[in-house]
Symmetry: C2
Subunit: 464 residues, 2 copies
């Protein structure tokens, strides 16, 4: 365990996207610092977001997900302790207790970074567990081992039940569908992709889900039936009329969200926010001096209504980690005041993206919404793809606060709205934005400005 200690000592707990990135940026900031990462798993920094695509085979080898391997950390003189856990932290002596199979050591730190991520949340489904954890054919999608296990179990024509119709649930539905499985999706809420998209933008996705899968919204999984430690069926219950039905299944995927892993941080006195995440500031600093945090274990305000938000997005994790790494290494890097929650995914060939809060989450802000269905190309050019776009503006100021898109280049179109929201651009200015036009590529007036014309008319109607 050891490189020569020359200078500042930085310890990072966790080597996911944020832990690895924090180490990388700490090293860029201070070439001499002693940097140690303690990772409980057996792999170095890999992409969690890529996990579903190893099941579909789009990513051919699960180990391709490893973005920086042990060699890379070695080359950068970053000490990487795999299969190791931090069992205790002493903030007075500024040291952590690290345990692995063979030894327990104490290690001093000057700055500490929590990149402890989040645990998959498993809802209370009766009989989903064996004595030994989840039943043999029930999986979360959180680690390389999870998807290795899923891939080893699936065969064409098997029945898969996916619990949770959020981003991961639908990504897994698509990936398992591509492998020829028959898909049933169970969602407790009245709509899919809650917290991500408004229901009225989702028609293209709903059409294809209805065609290619069996989708139960407003249903909760209440009980599993097992045989030989395997779940053979799931009993689901309609939330409206409490009627139950039994869904036969060969494999169950739990995709009902995550819970931040904050026990160590809480123990040493870091403030935990009401969302359950470690509260961090613009420097990715916790409430304790010299202690930073980044990624899925943190809570940060969103820039829309300044309310605390759990950070469950890899893109934000990496940006926080850049700040944590640089600040922990002694230079200064400030994050924007709040996050925009820019997000995207793709299921069954349809791209979705959004930025800002969905309508439910922004109920406390007086908003005007506008929606438009347009095309990616001018009407005379064959091959234009449909796009549904919806924006939300502040009812009194006209400032753009949210945007959602489903269809062609949704993510890049939403990035332009992200820039607008970051800079508090008014819908009156944005609707005059000169977008790029060429017949094979985009229409003369892109849907991103046309939807603003609609919002502008509504705004003027309300504020005349």
């Amino acid at each position: 365990m050891g490189f020569e200690v020359t200078d500042k000592k930085i310890i990072i707990i966790g080597c996911g996207a944020s832990g690895g990135t924090a180490a990388q940026f700490a090293r860029k900031t201070d070439r001499k610092a002693s940097i140690t990462i303690v990772e409980q798993g057996k792999y170095s920094q890999y992409s969690k977001c890529g996990l579903p695509y190893t099941v579909s085979g789009e990513i051919p080898n699960v180990y391709d997900l490893i973005e920086y391997d042990s060699e890379w950390f070695k080359k950068e003189k970053i000490e990487l302790l795999l299969n190791s856990t931090v069992s205790d932290i002493n903030t007075k002596s500024q040291s952590v207790t690290i345990q692995n199979d063979t030894e327990t050591i104490e290690k001093k730190y000057d700055t500490l970074i929590f990149c402890t991520g989040a645990f998959p949340f498993v809802p209370p489904i009766k009989n989903i567990n064996t004595n030994d954890g989840l039943a043999d054919n029930v999986f979360s999608v959180r680690t390389i081992d999870d998807v290795k296990n899923i891939s080893s179990k699936i065969k064409k024509d098997m029945k898969a039940t996916i619990i949770g119709a959020g981003l991961i649930g639908l990504e897994m539905a698509d990936c398992l569908y591509k492998k020829g499985l028959k898909i049933t999706i169970i969602e407790a809420l009245p709509q899919i992709l809650a917290n991500n998209m408004d229901e009225d933008t989702l028609q293209p996705i709903l059409s294809i889900l209805t065609e290619k899968t069996t989708l139960y919204t407003n249903h909760i999984a209440v009980q599993a039936k097992q045989k030989n430690d395997k779940v053979t069926s799931i009993i689901i219950q309609n939330q409206k009329d409490s009627k139950q039905q039994e869904i036969d299944t060969d494999i169950v995927i739990i995709a009902t969200g995550t819970k931040p892993n904050v026990s160590l941080a809480e123990k040493i006195g870091c403030t935990i926010g009401k969302t359950g995440g470690i509260v961090v500031n613009q420097q990715a600093q916790t409430s304790l001096k010299d202690v930073y945090a980044a990624g899925d274990c943190t809570q940060y305000n969103n820039s829309i209504n300044d309310k605390p938000t759990l950070i469950g997005l890899g893109s934000i994790a990496v940006r926080q980690a850049i700040a944590a790494g640089i600040n922990a290494a002694g230079k200064s890097y400030e994050l924007p005041k709040g996050v925009l929650l820019t997000r995207t995914s793709e299921f069954f060939g349809i791209e979705i993206a959004a930025v800002g809060l969905d309508s439910n989450a922004s109920k406390d802000i007086p908003m005007i919404y506008a929606k438009l269905k347009g095309s990616s190309k001018p009407p005379y050019f064959p091959g234009g793809e449909p796009i549904v776009i919806k924006i939300g503006i502040h009812e009194k100021t006209g400032v753009i606060l949210a945007a959602q898109a489903v269809g062609s280049n949704a993510a890049q179109r939403i990035n332009t709205f992200a820039c607008a929201i970051q800079n508090k651009v008014n819908v009156e200015d944005f609707r005059k934005l000169e977008t790029a036009y060429a017949p094979p590529i985009a229409p003369t007036l892109d849907v991103i400005t046309l939807v603003c014309d609609i919002a502008s008319r509504k705004f003027k109607g309300k504020n005349r």
Copy 2:
């Protein structure tokens, strides 16, 4: 010739994209106004930008380009006079003299809109003309009849010579290549796409042009040889050493730019700018009261260095026409103070886009440039496409002033920079922009922010 005159009288000269759009927005603004469009050609509003793609066959029928047909204008109670020219304008009596094959009429106006477009510029190539205009196999690409003629003349394995390697020249090169012709491109300047892109971003295009066509930069076409009113070869001359060579050809495309059609406007006293276009303001108004102009016949300032610019982009033409139509009809609509010159195209499968001035045109501004070659997807996800991205920021302020992209989703990526430039966003803020990330769609940190990290480092280096 006539609908009942009820109220305000608006006459629009020209029914291209800007003339048709101006009429449409004038009508939306004033349901009762008498609106007349005088168009010298035989077709109503069609897409000039779409012309090349009727030659390749991507747009199967040339008449598909007609965006609003005579019926549409009739339904909107807009009088459309085709095959008609305005021979004179009397600003005192506020009337125009309109001629067609059979009659000459006077028509009163309250407001007048010039949408007279631009003529193709034909460089002085000896012997390119017959007594009857251009030789039989020499064409510009400006009208439906031009491309109908081109399409009727071309056959697989013919030799095509394209004079001018700007947007239209390269679009035609691609479209004729798709029909199996052998392509030679002659460009007088040292680089292709001058005024649009910097040479150092163009390597992907140059590679493919070198592979699929014969490209002569730094060469001017000096003379044509004719047989039976057809050009059989073009003699080109190297601008450096004056060496000449003869290029056999079956068809010649002239794509060396356009000249604004301003003679009528000039005659009545509209100020013509030094670029040769009609000077218009934020209301799309000329120097004369009650006289407006929009599109390729106008000059407007660009928002980067506030210098006058010729508007040769359909996207801007339409935006000016919206302003002209609304203002001419009596309501108020203000354009942004300057144009961003957001532009895009695609040749040989490679998308290019840019916003702001190219490096040459912004020599008077102290700039810092940064360039990056990245990918459209994370490295572990197969199928990522290369993107070259270059930005220019102000050396003293760090404000983003220009961006260029070649590759995957160049246009939508440039739109995000257009939003940044419109709102004078600093590179320090833009580089922290939260872009949408998902493995099949975009990397954790998009090239649009990564290139800003490079610019930021250079900026800090210069301003420490």
